[in-house]
């Protein structure tokens, strides 16, 4: 049954089926019915992760090293858990910025840098080509194994056949045709390849079915269940040892690093980016995918161990390469149909990967490698007005063919030296180099272009030195001494034991060192270099993608372009029809009439750049748009304006702070005033009650004792009158101060002769002095010292000061002096009383601040006199000060501006 004709027929029939499915998918999409807009189809397309390496290689790995095949699937499971956080963010960013590949993502994030895009593309191509060639090898080997049937012999001399008789060559060509047909049907890479995704999802079903089919046959057909296989395997100490992980530090670190790089690979492999991000129809499909995809991985690994153990038992002593057990086990039992199914399963795993990977790589090569060169001004002038959309398609298509040819060449020359798994892991380690730039780029605004570039180059360099250079040595391109003695005999630099590190396996060793250099350089260099304005803009747009609305937020372009210029630029790359469509859509969304818009504003320029980016990549799009936009993007004045805005914001916030502190202070003052008011009221009531009580008590005595001696009656009545006077005075004072403070006082301004005022005040208070036996010394100048003021109030001041002096003196002298200086009039009242302590001198002018003299009982006076005095003096533009020492009397000095002086108070109208 298994003659070459049948095998070839089945192979091509399967490929034909794929073409049919892809064609149907595209037709349905054109008709508007998307079959891939379904979370399960999306999840199945993610399963393009499982390649021939999974299909054949996992069994091989399980047979050689035990559980070490598992981390490669545990990593993606863990990444799935983060899918909603990480992958959704990448999808959103890519949709908004029309990003179509990993290289474009990195270039766009770090300021649309062409250099970075080119470097990322090179890394992807160099890192992934071996992986593609691995798939070709798998197809070739599996074909040869079927072909050799009924012999099951190793090794298989697959490179012996000339190229034109090698199946892998034709498979490669066929895959190139498929990729060209369904991967580059239209130009815009953001337009989804519906048919392609449908075919990939179908392939995922086929490989899973085949894998489960073989697994079920081996477990339950060949043996009586898993327990049976296990019992047989446990009898062999060598095999039973392989059921565990060697308990060494290195092995555990290798295990963890495997999980790490597969986590990165499931996100960052070009084909994964293609299906997970570019081909994603709806972000919410992730909701299902984050558990359905791991479930798929779980299912496809379920029978790996039974097949590996079964194969080892069936072919002892390594007679058959464990990588082929999936195929050779059914063959050895003569189950040719099952073997054919297994072969198709392997082929589906390999072709799916090759198709998507080449399309993803071709997009990168075209947009980030060829375009930047082609769009240089020198070249651009050659085809100034030509329609470039056909050129673009041609570049894409030829790069697909080129990638496949490179992969085939690699397979012919180097591929045979490696088992499946090691090549796959080498590629994983290569794409893990993107991790710092991408994951750092979407969560950390601080990463900049120089940092990302340094990190990528160093990481890639270390990867190349520790994984690729040794393989070149092993295949004879470099001397073997590189591995055994180190370059130039330097032991520390041996590629498998860099700096003497020997605890890890080769992959773990390479991953550790490359990531160390990569992450270190990315963070370190970013921290010590400055990002340009566009890098900062892009960083913010990427990191805060969920904060900004869907589109039109970047508006990096400050300049304007003419509408026709912009349109003709788009036409050259998109073709007239699609340009027209895109422009009409924009006009509709903004409610403008496109034909009436000769000037394109910044927003439209940004929109056009994104349309262009979907076709030629963000870096090239930027260059092209810059060629038609007049002004510099973000010219110096703009930067200054932005800086100015920032400064204003800072100024505002400072002002705000100041106002806040002022408010706080005012509030404190208010509280203090409130407290004063309370005190004031309580003092006033106290002051009012004391005379009232005595008046009342004396009045009662007079009423109840009509027969009191007349002398005593007179005395009591006298006290009642005195106390009533005090009350009246107090109430007047309270009213006065309240009026002064609230500004309602009715000032009667006019020229006032102070000499007269003093005379009058002395006359009024003379009896008080006489009562206490106080001598008066008056020292008045010649002439008429005149001030502008309210005569009655100034009189009040004089009386107040004199009666105060009397109050605190027992005998002695009160000296009153009036001096007329140029511009001012000075007036002093000096007593020889008890004096005022220095700490009290500041507060005696406050309301109700009565000085409590120790042991002298109740303070005399209302405590309002000096407060009112000071307010009156201040109102007249003068000052009042006190000089005193306890026991030596006190001197109150009032200085008033003379009438007509500059600082004399204006007479209010």
């Amino acid at each position: 049954m298994l003659n070459p004709g049948v095998i070839l027929f089945v192979s091509f029939a399967y490929m034909g089926l794929l073409f049919a499915i892809a064609y149907m998918g595209d037709r349905l999409a054109d008709a508007g019915a998307s079959i891939i807009s379904n979370p399960y189809i999306y999840s199945l397309s993610l399963a393009v992760y499982c390649t021939a390496w999974t299909y054949y290689g996992s069994v091989g790995l399980a047979a050689r090293h035990g559980p070490h095949f598992l981390p490669i699937y545990l990593g993606p499971t863990l990444m799935s858990a983060l899918g909603w956080v990480v992958l959704r963010k990448i999808i959103r960013i890519s949709r908004i910025h029309r990003i179509t590949s990993i290289a474009d993502f990195i270039a766009s994030r770090y300021g649309k840098s062409t250099v970075l895009g080119g470097v990322a593309t090179l890394i992807a191509v160099v890192g992934v080509i071996p992986y593609i060639s691995l798939q070709l090898k798998a197809i070739s080997v599996s074909f040869l194994i079927l072909h050799q049937y009924p012999d099951i012999a190793m090794p298989i001399q697959f490179t012996a056949a000339p190229v034109f008789r090698d199946t892998a060559f034709y498979v490669a060509l066929l895959l190139a045709v498929f990729a060209v047909l369904f991967g580059t049907r239209h130009l815009a890479a953001t337009e989804r390849h519906e048919g392609l995704v449908a075919a990939i999802a179908f392939e995922s079903i086929v490989k899973l079915a085949a894998c489960l089919g073989v697994g079920l046959y081996v477990t339950y057909g060949l043996y009586n269940g898993f327990g049976d296989i296990l019992k047989a395997a446990m009898a062999d100490p060598e095999m039973s040892r392989r059921l565990t992980i060697p308990n060494e530090t290195g092995a555990w670190v290798d295990w963890g690093l495997s999980i790490f790089i597969s986590m990165m690979a499931v996100l960052l492999l070009p084909r994964q980016f293609q299906v997970a991000v570019v081909e994603n129809v709806n972000e919410n499909h992730l909701e299902k995918a984050i558990w359905f995809f791991p479930l798929y991985l779980f299912a496809i690994n379920l029978f790996v161990l039974p097949i590996a153990l079964g194969g080892d038992l069936r072919f002892p002593n390594g007679a058959v390469d464990p990588d082929t057990f999936v195929l050779t086990l059914p063959l050895a039992e003569g189950k040719t149909f099952l073997a054919l199914l297994a072969y198709i399963g392997g082929m589906s795993a390999a072709t799916g990967m090759v198709i998507v990977e080449t399309i993803a790589l071709s997009t990168m090569i075209c947009n980030d490698l060829v375009m930047p060169v082609l769009l240089r001004p020198t070249f651009l002038s050659w085809y100034r007005r030509a329609d470039l959309s056909h050129l673009l398609l041609a570049i894409r298509r030829s790069s697909i063919v080129l990638v496949l040819l490179m992969a085939y060449t690699y397979f012919r020359f180097i591929g045979e030296f490696y088992e499946l798994v090691s090549i796959g892991l080498v590629s994983f380690a290569a794409v893990a180099q993107f991790a710092p730039a991408i994951l750092g780029g979407i969560f950390w605004k601080g990463g900049n272009r120089v940092g990302a570039l340094t990190g990528l180059l160093l990481g890639f360099g270390v990867w190349f030195y520790t994984l690729v250079a040794p393989s070149l040595a092993q295949t004879g391109f470099l001397p073997m001494s590189l591995i055994t003695e180190g370059p130039l005999g330097i032991e520390l630099l041996k590629p498998f034991a860099l700096f003497g590190l020997t605890d890890f396996d080769r992959i773990g060793h390479a991953v550790f060192w490359s990531m160390l250099f990569n992450v270190g350089a990315y963070i370190g260099v970013s921290a010590f270099t400055r990002a340009t304005a566009i890098e900062q803009t892009q960083a913010t747009l990427f990191v805060d993608v969920f904060r900004y609305s869907e589109e039109g937020e970047s508006a990096f372009w400050r300049g304007k372009a003419s509408g026709p210029d912009l349109q003709s630029l788009l036409e050259r790359f998109l073709g007239p029809h699609r340009t027209e469509k895109a422009m009409r859509r924009y006009a509709r969304r903004r409610h403008i009439d496109w034909d009436q818009t000769p000037e394109a504003d910044a927003e439209l320029v940004d929109y056009a750049e994104k349309q262009l980016a979907s076709v030629i990549g963000s870096a090239s799009a930027r260059v092209m748009v810059a060629s038609v936009v007049k002004e510099e993007p973000l010219a110096l004045p703009d930067v200054m304006r932005i800086l100015d805005e920032t400064r204003q914001v800072i100024a505002y916030s400072r002002e705000l702070e100041k106002t806040t502190s002022e408010l706080t202070a005012a509030n404190e003052r208010l509280q203090e005033l409130d407290r004063f008011k309370d005190e004031f009221i309580s003092t006033v009531t106290h002051e009012l009650r004391t005379p009232l009580t005595s008046v009342r008590a004396l009045a009662e005595i007079l009423r109840d004792n009509p027969d009191l001696p007349a002398a005593q009656q007179e005395e009591f009545a006298g006290i009642i009158i005195k106390e009533s006077d005090r009350l009246t005075r107090l109430i007047t004072q309270v009213l006065d101060i309240q009026k002064i403070e609230s500004g309602q006082f009715d000032w009667q301004f006019g020229p006032v002769n102070l000499k007269e005022v003093i005379q009058d005040a002395v006359d009024t208070t003379r009896h008080l002095m006489r009562e206490k036996g106080i001598d008066l010394s008056l020292d008045l100048p010649e002439g008429k010292p005149t001030v502008s003021g309210d005569r009655d109030r100034l009189m009040q001041v004089m009386v107040n000061l004199i009666s105060n002096a009397v109050k605190f003196s027992d005998g002695g002298v009160i000296a009153i002096r009036l001096t007329a200086d140029p511009g001012t009039v000075r007036f002093e009242v000096q007593d020889s009383g008890i004096g005022i302590r220095s700490e009290d001198q500041d507060i005696i002018f406050n309301k109700f601040q009565q000085i409590r003299n120790g042991g002298r009982g109740r303070p005399m006076g209302s405590g309002l006199g000096l407060a009112i005095t000071r307010r009156i003096i201040q109102y007249h533009g003068g000052t009042i000060t006190v000089y005193s020492e306890p026991g030596k009397g006190a001197t109150f000095r009032v200085i008033l501006p003379a009438a007509g002086a500059a600082n004399a108070p204006a007479v209010p109208s």
């Binding site: 807009s37 559980p67 598992l70 981390p71 545990l74 499971t77 863990l78 799935s80 858990a81 983060l82 899918g83 909603w84 956080v85 959103r92 949709r95 815009a188 953001t190 337009e191 989804r192 898993f226 327990g227 296990l230 446990m234 039973s240 040892r241 059921l243 565990t244 992980i245 308990n247 555990w252 670190v253 295990w255 963890g256 999980i259 129809v281 709806n282 972000e283 919410n284 992730l286 909701e287 299902k288 984050i290 558990w291 791991p294 479930l295 779980f298 379920l302 161990l305 969560f443 969920f546 869907e550 699609r578 469509k581 895109a582 859509r585 349309q611 979907s614």
Partner: protein
Amino acid sequence: MPSGSPRNRRLSALFWLGLLLFNYPLLSLFDVPVIILGVPLLYGYLFGVWLLLIFLLALTARSRPTLPLPDAPRQNDQC
């Protein structure tokens, strides 16, 4: 990892749980050549945790926020 909605936090928590259970030192506790219920202990443990994690992921991912997502799908926006 950044946390936003409850779902993001739960999924991140599951990630850390998985990372712990799939790695040294917890993993080494099950790294003994013993057959339990007809399965080698290490494999039983790994596949068991794996399935449990998938189950928890499905449960968590399904729990829809009460409010409609602000980022509702934007289809038909491509040219």
